[in-house]
Amino acid sequence: MKILNWLAQTKIWQSIFRTKLPISTNLDKSLVIFNSLTLHIHPVKVRLRAIKFSYTFYLGMISFFLFVLLIVTGILLMLYYQPAIPHAYNNMKDLEFVVSNGSYLRNMHRWSAHLMVITVFLHMLRVFYKGAYKPPREFNWIIGIVLLIITLLLSYTGYLLPYDQLSYWAVTVGTNIVQYIPIAGEKIRFLLLGGNEIGEYTLVRFYVLHCVILPLFMVLLIALHFWRIRKDGGLS
């Protein structure tokens, strides 16, 4: 305790954390939020009801937690994965049978992905049935829909990466569905596949979408989503 007290008095500590210790009064507590970056997404005070489990079932927070888990496990998986034919499939087998704890990590990534689709969907249902989409929150509902679409696209692009039979045919079927979009369908399919058939370019394109472009949009939109909750007056 003494060391902590001394630490809190040092110049280095005080230049990093603006809040003076010890935190005792309510004012001190609110200053912790007030003096930090968190203020942009988290208010100083919340209504008791908003943090009650039975109101949100924490579904949005669980989705966010799963997303963070997916980023961490995904980055670790990237260390053993090459988006090339035939390496991709062999890398997956190595992850399963050769790399220490590889199958554990891969399963974490896969199960979190499946779970996230479910929790995001349930979160949307919760928002719908509680009427939390009503003004002034209507724009956050739209952001939410885009988040749902990105979640599904992440699922879909990730599905090709193991490059097994399931991957191959799921992407064959999926890109053929895209082909039925009027006018631009054929072109979009060509751009997605990087050719007329699934091949090297397709794998790289899906990899870049899955590991860079979609997560980037996801992070930006989640930030906007959280910031809007606060600006719309906290949870409804």
Binding site: V173, N176, G195, Y201
Partner: protein, 171 residues
């Protein structure tokens, strides 16, 4: 309440252009053109020009080594080359017209139907030996490719789809 206008107006109601508006418009237009141009260039960049895909034209044969009433499946080009009872040839695409899975040829038929010699593993479409739909979800018959005789070999061009009247090669 008086509405604020984007551009100030003269007393005769026409838009007044001063130096600031003039320069901003030029700047905005130039930026717009550059952005549009970069967008176009990027879109073009995304389409590969050279593709290492399998050749569209392939050969099968010699013809007299192929028995009547038999089929040859070319997995690379996903094509069935068929010689019927009369000894005529035709080539069918093995790509399902529903959503693109590879169909399988089975002489004894599928799903209890002896005519359904071509079946799709993905969603269960069935086709007869001419590639016509027996059961959906596919609604279109399998594609037929141009097939020609060159010396003693069959030449099939998967880039050239032909109609029913042109599909048969009589030898």
């Amino acid at each position: 309440m008086e509405k604020k206008k984007l551009y100030p107006e003269n007393s005769n109601g026409k838009n007044k252009i001063n130096r600031r508006i003039f320069l901003t418009s030029i700047g905005n237009t130039a930026t717009g053109i550059v952005l549009l141009g970069s967008f176009g260039v990027t879109l073009e960049y995304l389409s590969p020009n050279v593709l290492l895909e399998i050749p569209k034209i392939f050969k099968v044969g010699p013809v007299n080594s192929i028995q009547p009433n038999s089929i040859i499946y070319e997995p690379e080009q996903r094509t069935f080359v068929i010689r019927d009872e009369q000894g005529y040839f035709y080539a069918l695409s093995a790509v399902c017209t529903h959503l693109g899975c590879t169909t399988k040829w089975n002489d004894s038929g599928a799903a209890g139907n002896p005519n359904a010699v071509i079946s799709c593993p993905c969603h269960g479409s069935l086709f007869n030996k001419r590639g016509e739909v027996i059961q959906g979800p596919a609604i279109r018959a399998l594609d037929k490719y141009r097939i020609q005789l060159e010396e003693d070999k069959l030449v099939i061009n998967t880039a050239e789809k032909v109609s029913e009247d042109e599909m048969i090669l009589k030898v």
